[in-house]
Symmetry: C2
Subunit: 194 residues, 2 copies
């Protein structure tokens, strides 16, 4: 494994676990067993390192979102399952995204608002419209509510689950996650057609 890759890998975990500000370049360098200067050699700056780490981490997510949006197969169930799979494959992803992309004060907030939010947010109306056209949701429901419900569902594997596991001291297995995924999907549908 190259020095560059090792830096990127360490940065991803550290930034996700401790946050950008609380993680020093020297810490990353030491954990990756490289000279601190290598980070600037390869990435230019600490912020660019985070950008690179996020880009790599978010790639499968944006790919999945676009694929779902275009394939016209997006349903609450499909979204939930896709997101859960992504998180299972990349355990660092949720924390990294929540910390530095979604929460205010995050380093990548501007980048998020300009590039990612429109793409993610833009996909939701399409999904809603498709659900409405098949008669699965009420047509008179305010779009904001529908989008919010869908969003709440999509956020579950990213935020709610890790936090809830911590508070409840749970360690959910795959079967339980499957059960809950179906519950969440049902929620979205019910929210639309009570």
């Amino acid at each position: 494994m190259s020095a560059r890759d090792k830096i990127l890998e360490v940065a991803q975990t550290r930034f996700a676990e401790n946050g950008y500000a609380a993680t020093s370049v020297r810490q990353i360098a030491e954990a990756a067993d490289v000279n601190p200067a290598m980070i600037h050699y390869y990435f230019g700056s600490k912020e660019d390192l985070l950008r690179a780490a996020l880009e790599q981490a978010l790639e499968p997510l944006t790919e999945a979102v676009q694929a779902m949006q275009q394939s016209r197969e997006a349903s609450p169930e499909a979204i939930t399952r896709t997101l859960m799979g992504l998180v299972a494959a990349h355990p660092n992803l949720p924390l990294l995204v929540v910390r530095e992309v979604m929460l205010p004060g995050g380093v990548m907030q501007a980048h998020f608002a300009e590039n990612l939010a429109p793409r993610l947010g833009g996909a939701l109306p399409d999904i809603l419209a498709r659900e409405a056209s098949t008669g699965r949701i009420r047509k008179d429901l305010p779009p904001a509510i529908g989008a919010l419900a869908l969003m709440a569902m999509a956020l579950f594997p990213f935020i709610v689950r890790p936090v809830a596991e911590k508070v409840l001291d749970l360690d959910l297995d795959d079967a339980q996650l499957e059960t809950f995924a179906s519950h969440i999907s049902e929620f979205v549908r019910r929210g639309f057609a009570p």
Copy 2:
């Protein structure tokens, strides 16, 4: 307003908006119009300042949770409404809690695991049991799933809403929040009795 109170107020917003690590003692002092040494004079250390800020911010929350647990009036609707009211009254609360208490790497994580998590998490089984005894939820549902669903609902006003508002570029009014609160409560019930 005393210097101490001003420091505490500024610290609450800054820590919530930018995170603990990214907020310097000097920044807080300047924003509070106070000499940096005053922070150590009143609070001892930066970490103790965060502890004080969190304690003050969390007071209404823990009070509300305990009150609900003891009054035996806790229902999904009541929980959602209470939490939403708390957040409306203290807009900094969610971010502060999420950043430094719930997410790993947060400064107060140990304090959270030892003191707050048991109290919050401990209340959920009681609420579940009460719902089961009145026949409003299925008795054969795995407790973990029920608690998780309830937790997901409780987390909405804290995490999902601000993030979703950002992604969807929404600015939800009270009526919409009411609507969504009822949808969430319905979700918990439906999740139990589909």
